[in-house]
Protein backbone atom coordinates (compact mmCIF):
# COMPACT_ATOMS: atom_id res chain seq x y z
CA UNK A 1 0.00 0.00 0.00
CA UNK A 2 1.25 3.44 -0.82
CA UNK A 3 1.23 6.18 1.73
CA UNK A 4 -0.49 9.46 0.96
CA UNK A 5 2.66 11.53 0.55
CA UNK A 6 3.94 9.04 -1.97
CA UNK A 7 1.37 10.17 -4.48
CA UNK A 8 2.34 13.71 -5.28
CA UNK A 9 5.45 15.44 -4.03
CA UNK A 10 5.60 19.00 -2.80
CA UNK A 11 6.57 20.18 -6.26
CA UNK A 12 3.48 18.50 -7.67
CA UNK A 13 5.29 15.53 -9.20
CA UNK A 14 3.64 12.21 -9.68
CA UNK A 15 5.89 9.47 -8.35
CA UNK A 16 5.53 6.07 -9.94
CA UNK A 17 7.46 2.98 -8.93
CA UNK A 18 8.26 0.98 -12.04
CA UNK A 19 9.29 -2.42 -10.78
CA UNK A 20 10.63 -4.48 -9.10
CA UNK A 21 7.91 -6.57 -10.75
CA UNK A 22 7.19 -5.02 -14.10
CA UNK A 23 7.03 -6.41 -17.63
CA UNK A 24 9.49 -3.90 -19.08
CA UNK A 25 12.34 -4.07 -16.57
CA UNK A 26 13.49 -7.52 -17.75
CA UNK A 27 14.07 -8.66 -14.21
CA UNK A 28 13.84 -7.23 -10.76
CA UNK A 29 14.90 -3.67 -11.39
CA UNK A 30 13.12 -0.98 -9.48
CA UNK A 31 12.93 2.50 -10.97
CA UNK A 32 11.43 5.31 -8.99
CA UNK A 33 10.17 7.75 -11.58
CA UNK A 34 9.11 11.34 -10.98
CA UNK A 35 6.58 12.29 -13.62
CA UNK A 36 5.07 15.49 -14.83
CA UNK A 37 2.08 14.18 -16.73
CA UNK A 38 3.71 11.62 -18.96
CA UNK A 39 7.10 13.32 -19.02
CA UNK A 40 9.90 11.93 -16.90
CA UNK A 41 11.54 14.52 -14.67
CA UNK A 42 13.84 12.31 -12.72
CA UNK A 43 14.66 8.63 -12.34
CA UNK A 44 16.23 6.87 -9.42
CA UNK A 45 17.25 3.25 -10.01
CA UNK A 46 17.05 0.96 -6.99
CA UNK A 47 18.96 -2.25 -7.49
CA UNK A 48 19.88 -5.23 -5.38
CA UNK A 49 16.71 -7.29 -5.54
CA UNK A 50 18.65 -10.18 -7.02
CA UNK A 51 21.96 -9.59 -5.27
CA UNK A 52 23.54 -12.97 -4.54
CA UNK A 53 26.88 -11.66 -3.25
CA UNK A 54 28.78 -13.41 -6.02
CA UNK A 55 31.93 -11.46 -5.18
CA UNK A 56 31.88 -12.49 -1.53
CA UNK A 57 30.97 -16.05 -2.44
CA UNK A 58 33.86 -16.31 -4.88
CA UNK A 59 36.30 -15.49 -2.09
CA UNK A 60 35.70 -18.91 -0.62
CA UNK A 61 35.59 -20.82 -3.91
CA UNK A 62 38.60 -22.30 -5.65
CA UNK A 63 39.81 -21.08 -9.04
CA UNK A 64 38.02 -23.97 -10.73
CA UNK A 65 34.78 -23.42 -8.89
CA UNK A 66 34.27 -19.68 -9.11
CA UNK A 67 33.73 -19.81 -12.86
CA UNK A 68 30.42 -21.61 -12.44
CA UNK A 69 28.97 -18.78 -10.40
CA UNK A 70 29.68 -16.28 -13.14
CA UNK A 71 27.33 -18.04 -15.56
CA UNK A 72 24.58 -16.70 -13.36
CA UNK A 73 25.64 -13.09 -13.67
CA UNK A 74 24.89 -12.24 -17.26
CA UNK A 75 22.99 -15.39 -18.03
CA UNK A 76 22.46 -14.41 -21.65
CA UNK A 77 26.18 -14.45 -22.38
CA UNK A 78 27.29 -17.12 -19.94
CA UNK A 79 30.03 -18.40 -22.24
CA UNK A 80 31.69 -15.03 -22.37
CA UNK A 81 31.56 -14.60 -18.61
CA UNK A 82 33.21 -17.98 -18.17
CA UNK A 83 35.76 -17.08 -20.79
CA UNK A 84 36.70 -13.92 -18.89
CA UNK A 85 37.33 -15.88 -15.71
CA UNK A 86 39.26 -18.61 -17.48
CA UNK A 87 41.39 -16.00 -19.23
CA UNK A 88 42.20 -14.27 -15.95
CA UNK A 89 43.37 -17.49 -14.34
CA UNK A 90 45.36 -18.41 -17.45
CA UNK A 91 46.98 -15.00 -17.55
CA UNK A 92 47.96 -15.23 -13.90
CA UNK A 93 49.31 -18.77 -14.16
CA UNK A 94 50.70 -18.29 -17.65
CA UNK A 95 48.93 -21.33 -19.01
CA UNK A 96 49.31 -21.77 -22.76
CA UNK A 97 45.91 -22.61 -24.21
CA UNK A 98 45.86 -25.01 -27.18
CA UNK A 99 44.88 -23.47 -30.50
CA UNK A 100 41.85 -25.73 -30.85
CA UNK A 101 40.51 -24.60 -27.50
CA UNK A 102 40.91 -20.96 -28.47
CA UNK A 103 38.96 -21.43 -31.68
CA UNK A 104 36.22 -23.36 -29.90
CA UNK A 105 36.00 -20.59 -27.33
CA UNK A 106 35.63 -17.87 -29.93
CA UNK A 107 33.03 -19.90 -31.81
CA UNK A 108 31.02 -20.47 -28.68
CA UNK A 109 31.35 -16.86 -27.58
CA UNK A 110 30.11 -15.59 -30.94
CA UNK A 111 27.22 -18.05 -31.02
CA UNK A 112 26.39 -16.87 -27.54
CA UNK A 113 26.53 -13.26 -28.65
CA UNK A 114 24.16 -14.13 -31.48
CA UNK A 115 21.63 -15.74 -29.16
CA UNK A 116 21.88 -12.81 -26.79
CA UNK A 117 21.32 -10.28 -29.55
CA UNK A 118 18.44 -12.34 -30.94
CA UNK A 119 16.72 -12.31 -27.58
CA UNK A 120 17.43 -8.61 -27.28
CA UNK A 121 15.85 -7.99 -30.66
CA UNK A 122 12.77 -9.97 -29.74
CA UNK A 123 12.46 -8.16 -26.44
CA UNK A 124 12.86 -4.77 -28.06
CA UNK A 125 9.92 -5.55 -30.28
CA UNK A 126 7.97 -6.86 -27.33
CA UNK A 127 8.74 -3.79 -25.23
CA UNK A 128 7.56 -1.49 -27.97
CA UNK A 129 4.30 -3.40 -28.27
CA UNK A 130 5.03 -5.65 -31.25
CA UNK A 131 4.71 -9.17 -29.92
CA UNK A 132 5.51 -11.11 -33.07
CA UNK A 133 9.26 -10.32 -33.29
CA UNK A 134 9.75 -12.21 -30.05
CA UNK A 135 8.69 -15.44 -31.68
CA UNK A 136 10.68 -14.79 -34.82
CA UNK A 137 13.77 -14.20 -32.71
CA UNK A 138 13.35 -17.52 -31.00
CA UNK A 139 13.57 -19.61 -34.16
CA UNK A 140 17.34 -19.65 -34.51
CA UNK A 141 17.93 -19.03 -30.83
CA UNK A 142 16.28 -22.35 -30.04
CA UNK A 143 18.46 -24.17 -32.57
CA UNK A 144 21.63 -22.59 -31.21
CA UNK A 145 20.60 -23.40 -27.67
CA UNK A 146 20.07 -27.02 -28.65
CA UNK A 147 23.43 -26.99 -30.33
CA UNK A 148 24.96 -25.72 -27.08
CA UNK A 149 23.22 -28.51 -25.24
CA UNK A 150 24.84 -31.08 -27.53
CA UNK A 151 28.32 -29.89 -26.73
CA UNK A 152 28.10 -28.29 -23.28
CA UNK A 153 25.21 -30.18 -21.74
CA UNK A 154 23.30 -27.02 -20.92
CA UNK A 155 21.30 -24.46 -22.82
CA UNK A 156 21.74 -21.29 -20.84
CA UNK A 157 24.34 -21.56 -18.10
CA UNK A 158 26.88 -23.60 -19.98
CA UNK A 159 29.96 -23.58 -17.73
CA UNK A 160 31.93 -24.82 -20.69
CA UNK A 161 35.12 -22.78 -20.46
CA UNK A 162 37.63 -23.89 -17.86
CA UNK A 163 41.14 -22.61 -17.10
CA UNK A 164 43.34 -24.11 -19.80
CA UNK A 165 40.74 -24.59 -22.49
CA UNK A 166 37.24 -25.95 -22.68
CA UNK A 167 35.62 -28.68 -20.65
CA UNK A 168 34.84 -31.18 -23.39
CA UNK A 169 35.45 -31.67 -27.06
CA UNK A 170 32.95 -30.53 -29.64
CA UNK A 171 29.99 -32.71 -30.50
CA UNK A 172 30.63 -34.53 -33.83
CA UNK A 173 27.61 -32.82 -35.40
CA UNK A 174 28.63 -29.37 -34.22
CA UNK A 175 30.13 -28.06 -37.44
CA UNK A 176 27.31 -29.26 -39.64
CA UNK A 177 24.64 -27.85 -37.35
CA UNK A 178 26.36 -24.50 -36.97
CA UNK A 179 26.65 -24.16 -40.72
CA UNK A 180 22.99 -25.01 -41.12
CA UNK A 181 21.81 -22.54 -38.55
CA UNK A 182 24.03 -19.74 -39.82
CA UNK A 183 22.88 -20.33 -43.38
CA UNK A 184 19.29 -20.22 -42.17
CA UNK A 185 19.86 -17.12 -40.10
CA UNK A 186 21.48 -15.26 -42.96
CA UNK A 187 18.19 -15.60 -44.80
CA UNK A 188 15.98 -14.94 -41.82
CA UNK A 189 17.76 -11.88 -40.51
CA UNK A 190 16.15 -9.94 -43.36
CA UNK A 191 12.83 -10.61 -41.70
CA UNK A 192 14.18 -8.73 -38.72
CA UNK A 193 14.51 -5.67 -40.90
CA UNK A 194 11.12 -6.21 -42.48
CA UNK A 195 9.35 -6.66 -39.17
CA UNK A 196 10.96 -3.95 -37.08
CA UNK A 197 13.78 -1.94 -38.60
CA UNK A 198 11.81 -0.74 -41.62
CA UNK A 199 8.62 -0.16 -39.68
CA UNK A 200 7.71 3.51 -39.58
CA UNK A 201 6.14 3.34 -36.14
CA UNK A 202 9.21 1.60 -34.76
CA UNK A 203 11.56 4.16 -36.26
CA UNK A 204 9.45 6.96 -34.88
CA UNK A 205 9.63 5.36 -31.47
CA UNK A 206 13.42 5.01 -31.35
CA UNK A 207 14.83 7.85 -33.45
CA UNK A 208 16.04 10.74 -31.34
CA UNK A 209 14.94 9.03 -28.16
CA UNK A 210 17.22 8.45 -25.17
CA UNK A 211 20.10 10.56 -26.36
CA UNK A 212 23.44 9.82 -24.71
CA UNK A 213 26.24 12.15 -25.70
CA UNK A 214 29.72 10.86 -26.31
CA UNK A 215 31.09 12.74 -23.31
CA UNK A 216 28.42 11.38 -21.01
CA UNK A 217 28.90 7.84 -22.28
CA UNK A 218 32.62 8.02 -21.49
CA UNK A 219 32.04 9.69 -18.17
CA UNK A 220 29.52 7.07 -17.09
CA UNK A 221 31.89 4.31 -18.13
CA UNK A 222 29.43 2.89 -20.65
CA UNK A 223 30.63 0.10 -22.88
CA UNK A 224 29.40 -2.27 -25.51
CA UNK A 225 26.73 -1.34 -28.04
CA UNK A 226 25.44 1.35 -25.68
CA UNK A 227 28.73 3.24 -25.91
CA UNK A 228 29.36 2.36 -29.55
CA UNK A 229 25.97 3.83 -30.40
CA UNK A 230 27.33 7.10 -29.01
CA UNK A 231 30.38 6.98 -31.22
CA UNK A 232 32.97 5.56 -28.85
CA UNK A 233 35.37 2.93 -30.05
CA UNK A 234 35.37 0.43 -27.21
CA UNK A 235 35.22 -3.07 -28.66
CA UNK A 236 37.55 -5.08 -26.43
CA UNK A 237 37.90 -7.68 -29.18
CA UNK A 238 39.62 -5.04 -31.29
CA UNK A 239 41.39 -2.96 -28.66
CA UNK A 240 42.70 -5.68 -26.36
CA UNK A 241 42.30 -8.89 -28.37
CA UNK A 242 42.14 -12.21 -26.58
CA UNK A 243 41.79 -15.84 -27.68
CA UNK A 244 42.86 -15.12 -31.21
CA UNK A 245 40.47 -12.32 -32.11
CA UNK A 246 43.49 -10.49 -33.52
CA UNK A 247 43.63 -12.98 -36.42
CA UNK A 248 40.02 -12.54 -37.42
CA UNK A 249 38.48 -10.14 -39.86
CA UNK A 250 35.56 -8.23 -38.46
CA UNK A 251 34.51 -4.63 -38.10
CA UNK A 252 33.89 -2.67 -35.00
CA UNK A 253 30.44 -1.16 -35.44
CA UNK A 254 30.25 2.46 -34.40
CA UNK A 255 27.25 4.74 -34.84
CA UNK A 256 27.33 8.43 -34.06
CA UNK A 257 23.64 8.95 -33.29
CA UNK A 258 23.67 8.31 -29.55
CA UNK A 259 19.95 7.54 -29.56
CA UNK A 260 18.03 4.30 -29.33
CA UNK A 261 18.06 3.92 -33.10
CA UNK A 262 21.88 4.05 -33.16
CA UNK A 263 22.12 1.41 -30.45
CA UNK A 264 19.62 -0.70 -32.35
CA UNK A 265 21.62 -0.47 -35.56
CA UNK A 266 24.85 -1.34 -33.75
CA UNK A 267 23.38 -4.56 -32.41
CA UNK A 268 21.84 -5.59 -35.71
CA UNK A 269 25.16 -4.99 -37.47
CA UNK A 270 27.00 -6.91 -34.75
CA UNK A 271 24.91 -9.95 -35.53
CA UNK A 272 26.22 -9.83 -39.09
CA UNK A 273 29.78 -9.49 -37.77
CA UNK A 274 29.35 -12.44 -35.42
CA UNK A 275 28.12 -14.54 -38.31
CA UNK A 276 31.13 -13.52 -40.36
CA UNK A 277 33.48 -14.54 -37.51
CA UNK A 278 31.74 -17.91 -37.24
CA UNK A 279 32.03 -18.33 -41.01
CA UNK A 280 35.77 -17.74 -40.83
CA UNK A 281 36.32 -20.25 -38.05
CA UNK A 282 33.85 -23.04 -38.56
CA UNK A 283 35.81 -24.78 -41.31
CA UNK A 284 39.17 -24.06 -39.73
CA UNK A 285 38.99 -25.66 -36.32
CA UNK A 286 42.53 -26.99 -35.78
CA UNK A 287 43.09 -30.51 -34.55
CA UNK A 288 44.69 -31.04 -31.17
CA UNK A 289 43.88 -30.90 -27.51
CA UNK A 290 40.88 -29.03 -26.31
CA UNK A 291 42.42 -28.42 -22.91
CA UNK A 292 45.91 -27.72 -21.64
CA UNK A 293 47.35 -29.94 -18.96
CA UNK A 294 46.82 -28.17 -15.67
CA UNK A 295 47.26 -29.15 -12.05
CA UNK A 296 44.24 -30.41 -10.18
CA UNK A 297 44.47 -27.58 -7.68
CA UNK A 298 45.16 -24.20 -9.16
CA UNK A 299 47.21 -21.70 -7.20
CA UNK A 300 47.57 -18.18 -8.48
CA UNK A 301 50.77 -16.27 -7.74
CA UNK A 302 50.53 -13.28 -5.42
CA UNK A 303 49.38 -10.21 -7.25
CA UNK A 304 46.52 -8.50 -9.01
CA UNK A 305 45.14 -9.61 -12.33
CA UNK A 306 42.66 -7.88 -14.57
CA UNK A 307 41.17 -9.31 -17.71
CA UNK A 308 38.46 -7.80 -19.85
CA UNK A 309 36.32 -9.34 -22.53
CA UNK A 310 33.54 -8.09 -24.73
CA UNK A 311 30.24 -9.62 -23.73
CA UNK A 312 27.07 -9.04 -25.68
CA UNK A 313 26.38 -6.03 -23.49
CA UNK A 314 29.80 -4.50 -23.13
CA UNK A 315 33.05 -4.76 -21.29
CA UNK A 316 33.21 -7.35 -18.57
CA UNK A 317 36.25 -7.01 -16.34
CA UNK A 318 37.43 -9.64 -13.88
CA UNK A 319 39.74 -8.24 -11.23
CA UNK A 320 41.35 -10.88 -9.06
CA UNK A 321 43.51 -10.05 -6.06
CA UNK A 322 45.47 -13.10 -5.09
CA UNK A 323 47.43 -13.78 -1.94
CA UNK A 324 48.99 -16.87 -3.47
CA UNK A 325 46.44 -19.31 -2.14
CA UNK A 326 43.89 -21.59 -3.76
CA UNK A 327 41.07 -19.09 -3.39
CA UNK A 328 41.02 -15.46 -4.46
CA UNK A 329 41.50 -12.83 -1.79
CA UNK A 330 39.15 -10.44 -3.50
CA UNK A 331 37.26 -10.61 -6.77
CA UNK A 332 35.60 -7.69 -8.46
CA UNK A 333 33.48 -8.05 -11.55
CA UNK A 334 33.26 -4.90 -13.58
CA UNK A 335 29.89 -5.57 -15.10
CA UNK A 336 28.83 -3.74 -18.24
CA UNK A 337 25.21 -3.43 -17.22
CA UNK A 338 26.03 -1.71 -13.97
CA UNK A 339 27.70 1.20 -15.72
CA UNK A 340 25.15 1.29 -18.51
CA UNK A 341 22.34 1.41 -15.98
CA UNK A 342 23.94 4.34 -14.19
CA UNK A 343 23.56 6.34 -17.41
CA UNK A 344 19.83 5.58 -17.63
CA UNK A 345 18.65 8.63 -15.60
CA UNK A 346 20.57 10.93 -17.93
CA UNK A 347 19.22 9.26 -21.05
CA UNK A 348 15.62 9.16 -19.94
CA UNK A 349 15.31 12.66 -18.58
CA UNK A 350 12.61 14.58 -20.41
CA UNK A 351 11.33 11.51 -22.21
CA UNK A 352 7.90 9.95 -22.01
CA UNK A 353 7.13 6.72 -20.16
CA UNK A 354 6.96 4.89 -23.47
CA UNK A 355 10.44 6.14 -24.28
CA UNK A 356 11.79 4.83 -21.00
CA UNK A 357 10.79 1.36 -22.10
CA UNK A 358 12.49 1.87 -25.45
CA UNK A 359 15.67 3.11 -23.76
CA UNK A 360 15.79 0.23 -21.32
CA UNK A 361 15.38 -2.29 -24.07
CA UNK A 362 18.06 -0.76 -26.28
CA UNK A 363 20.65 -0.68 -23.51
CA UNK A 364 19.67 -4.32 -23.01
CA UNK A 365 19.85 -4.60 -19.26
CA UNK A 366 20.32 -7.96 -17.61
CA UNK A 367 19.56 -7.33 -13.97
CA UNK A 368 21.43 -10.27 -12.39
CA UNK A 369 24.54 -8.80 -13.94
CA UNK A 370 23.86 -5.42 -12.35
CA UNK A 371 23.29 -6.84 -8.90
CA UNK A 372 25.77 -9.71 -9.03
Amino acid sequence: MLIEEDYITEEGDFVVNIGPQHPATHGVLHLKVWLDGETIKHIEPHIGYIHRSIEKMSESLSYRQFIYVTSRMDYLSAHINNQACALTVEKAMQIEVPQRAKVIRVLMAELNRLTSHMLWWGCTGLDLGAVSPFFFAFREREIINELMEDTCGARLTMNYMVPGGVMADLHPDFQRKVKEVIAQFKVNIHEYDQLLSDNVIFQERVKGVGYLSKEDAISFGCSGPTARGSGISCDIRKLYPYDGYENLKFDEIIEQGGDCWARYKVRIAEMHQSMSIIDQLIDNIPEGDFQAKTKAVLKLPKGEFYQRVETARGELGVFIVSEGGTTPYRIKYRSPNFSNLSALPTMAKGCKIGDLVAIMSTIDLVIPDVDR
Binding site: I47, G48, H51, S53, E55, K56, S60, L61, K91, D216, I218, S219, F220, G221, C222, S223, I232, S233, C234, L239, G303, E304, F305, Y306, R308, E315, G317, F319, V321, Y329, R330, K332, R334, F338, S339, L341, S342, A343, T346, D371
Partner: protein, 151 residues
Protein backbone atom coordinates in the same frame (compact mmCIF):
# COMPACT_ATOMS: atom_id res chain seq x y z
CA UNK B 1 52.03 7.71 -23.57
CA UNK B 2 54.48 5.05 -22.64
CA UNK B 3 54.88 3.68 -19.16
CA UNK B 4 58.07 5.63 -18.45
CA UNK B 5 56.56 8.88 -19.67
CA UNK B 6 53.48 8.23 -17.60
CA UNK B 7 55.62 7.68 -14.49
CA UNK B 8 57.51 10.86 -15.20
CA UNK B 9 54.32 12.83 -15.66
CA UNK B 10 52.72 11.41 -12.52
CA UNK B 11 55.72 12.31 -10.43
CA UNK B 12 55.27 15.90 -11.55
CA UNK B 13 51.65 15.92 -10.44
CA UNK B 14 52.30 14.17 -7.18
CA UNK B 15 55.86 14.13 -5.86
CA UNK B 16 55.00 11.59 -3.17
CA UNK B 17 53.64 9.00 -5.62
CA UNK B 18 55.02 5.46 -5.48
CA UNK B 19 54.73 2.89 -8.23
CA UNK B 20 54.16 -0.81 -8.42
CA UNK B 21 54.88 -2.42 -11.77
CA UNK B 22 54.17 -6.05 -11.02
CA UNK B 23 50.79 -6.11 -12.76
CA UNK B 24 49.53 -5.60 -16.27
CA UNK B 25 48.84 -1.91 -15.62
CA UNK B 26 51.02 0.70 -14.04
CA UNK B 27 49.92 1.08 -10.43
CA UNK B 28 50.31 4.41 -8.68
CA UNK B 29 49.82 4.86 -4.95
CA UNK B 30 48.30 8.19 -4.02
CA UNK B 31 47.78 9.61 -0.55
CA UNK B 32 44.27 10.43 0.60
CA UNK B 33 44.90 14.06 1.64
CA UNK B 34 45.37 15.64 -1.81
CA UNK B 35 43.75 12.77 -3.68
CA UNK B 36 40.89 14.76 -5.19
CA UNK B 37 43.03 17.46 -6.79
CA UNK B 38 45.37 14.84 -8.22
CA UNK B 39 42.49 12.88 -9.71
CA UNK B 40 41.17 16.09 -11.22
CA UNK B 41 44.60 16.66 -12.75
CA UNK B 42 44.59 13.15 -14.21
CA UNK B 43 41.24 13.81 -15.81
CA UNK B 44 41.81 17.35 -17.00
CA UNK B 45 45.47 17.46 -18.08
CA UNK B 46 45.36 17.43 -21.87
CA UNK B 47 48.26 15.02 -22.25
CA UNK B 48 46.88 12.53 -19.71
CA UNK B 49 43.13 12.79 -20.24
CA UNK B 50 42.06 9.80 -18.17
CA UNK B 51 38.39 10.14 -19.02
CA UNK B 52 37.24 6.55 -18.64
CA UNK B 53 36.88 5.15 -15.14
CA UNK B 54 36.17 1.59 -16.12
CA UNK B 55 36.43 -0.13 -12.78
CA UNK B 56 36.45 1.00 -9.20
CA UNK B 57 36.61 -1.13 -6.14
CA UNK B 58 38.20 -1.48 -2.73
CA UNK B 59 40.18 -4.22 -1.05
CA UNK B 60 40.13 -4.99 2.64
CA UNK B 61 43.72 -5.71 3.66
CA UNK B 62 44.75 -6.61 7.20
CA UNK B 63 45.95 -3.14 8.10
CA UNK B 64 44.21 -0.90 5.60
CA UNK B 65 41.54 -0.44 3.01
CA UNK B 66 42.81 0.11 -0.49
CA UNK B 67 40.60 1.90 -2.95
CA UNK B 68 41.44 0.88 -6.51
CA UNK B 69 40.60 3.03 -9.53
CA UNK B 70 41.15 1.60 -13.00
CA UNK B 71 41.50 4.52 -15.36
CA UNK B 72 42.07 4.68 -19.05
CA UNK B 73 42.03 7.33 -21.69
CA UNK B 74 39.83 6.93 -24.73
CA UNK B 75 41.92 9.19 -27.00
CA UNK B 76 45.37 7.96 -25.92
CA UNK B 77 44.53 4.37 -24.88
CA UNK B 78 46.90 4.40 -21.92
CA UNK B 79 45.74 2.90 -18.67
CA UNK B 80 46.59 3.47 -15.06
CA UNK B 81 45.59 1.96 -11.75
CA UNK B 82 45.37 4.46 -8.95
CA UNK B 83 45.42 3.10 -5.44
CA UNK B 84 44.79 4.87 -2.19
CA UNK B 85 45.51 3.29 1.16
CA UNK B 86 43.15 4.20 3.95
CA UNK B 87 44.78 3.24 7.22
CA UNK B 88 41.82 4.07 9.43
CA UNK B 89 40.11 0.68 9.59
CA UNK B 90 37.33 1.91 11.86
CA UNK B 91 36.08 4.81 9.83
CA UNK B 92 37.64 4.95 6.37
CA UNK B 93 36.95 8.21 4.56
CA UNK B 94 37.99 9.28 1.07
CA UNK B 95 37.12 12.14 -1.22
CA UNK B 96 34.48 11.37 -3.81
CA UNK B 97 35.35 11.51 -7.50
CA UNK B 98 31.70 11.54 -8.55
CA UNK B 99 32.14 15.11 -9.73
CA UNK B 100 34.92 14.06 -12.11
CA UNK B 101 33.53 10.84 -13.54
CA UNK B 102 29.73 10.56 -13.51
CA UNK B 103 29.90 6.79 -13.37
CA UNK B 104 31.67 7.02 -10.03
CA UNK B 105 28.38 7.96 -8.44
CA UNK B 106 27.08 4.39 -8.60
CA UNK B 107 30.47 2.76 -8.15
CA UNK B 108 31.15 4.68 -4.95
CA UNK B 109 27.71 3.90 -3.61
CA UNK B 110 28.43 0.24 -4.21
CA UNK B 111 31.79 0.45 -2.46
CA UNK B 112 30.21 2.32 0.45
CA UNK B 113 27.50 -0.29 0.66
CA UNK B 114 29.66 -3.38 0.54
CA UNK B 115 32.98 -2.14 1.94
CA UNK B 116 31.99 0.73 4.19
CA UNK B 117 34.25 3.45 2.84
CA UNK B 118 32.62 6.86 3.22
CA UNK B 119 33.07 9.26 0.33
CA UNK B 120 33.25 12.95 1.15
CA UNK B 121 31.32 15.17 -1.18
CA UNK B 122 29.31 12.37 -2.78
CA UNK B 123 25.95 13.78 -3.93
CA UNK B 124 23.81 10.91 -2.70
CA UNK B 125 25.71 8.46 -0.50
CA UNK B 126 23.18 5.77 0.36
CA UNK B 127 23.27 2.01 0.25
CA UNK B 128 22.85 0.85 -3.31
CA UNK B 129 22.47 -2.91 -3.28
CA UNK B 130 21.54 -3.90 0.25
CA UNK B 131 18.56 -2.73 2.23
CA UNK B 132 18.78 0.68 3.87
CA UNK B 133 18.75 -0.79 7.38
CA UNK B 134 21.39 -3.44 6.77
CA UNK B 135 24.02 -3.64 9.52
CA UNK B 136 27.63 -4.03 8.49
CA UNK B 137 29.45 -4.11 5.18
CA UNK B 138 29.59 -7.64 3.74
CA UNK B 139 32.74 -7.48 1.68
CA UNK B 140 34.86 -6.67 4.73
CA UNK B 141 36.89 -9.63 5.87
CA UNK B 142 35.62 -9.40 9.46
CA UNK B 143 31.96 -9.33 8.43
CA UNK B 144 29.78 -11.95 9.99
CA UNK B 145 26.08 -12.52 10.37
CA UNK B 146 24.01 -15.44 11.56
CA UNK B 147 23.05 -16.53 8.03
CA UNK B 148 26.58 -17.10 6.78
CA UNK B 149 27.55 -20.68 6.03
CA UNK B 150 31.16 -21.78 6.19
CA UNK B 151 32.13 -23.56 2.97
Amino acid sequence: MSREELKQRLSEICPSVTFDETGEFLMAFFTPDVFLTQMKELRCATDLNFDYLFCMTAIDWKDNFTAVYHLSSTPFRHALVVKVKLTDKENPVLDSVAGIWKGANFLEREVYDLMGIRFNGHPDLRRLILEDDWIGHPLRKDYADENMIEL
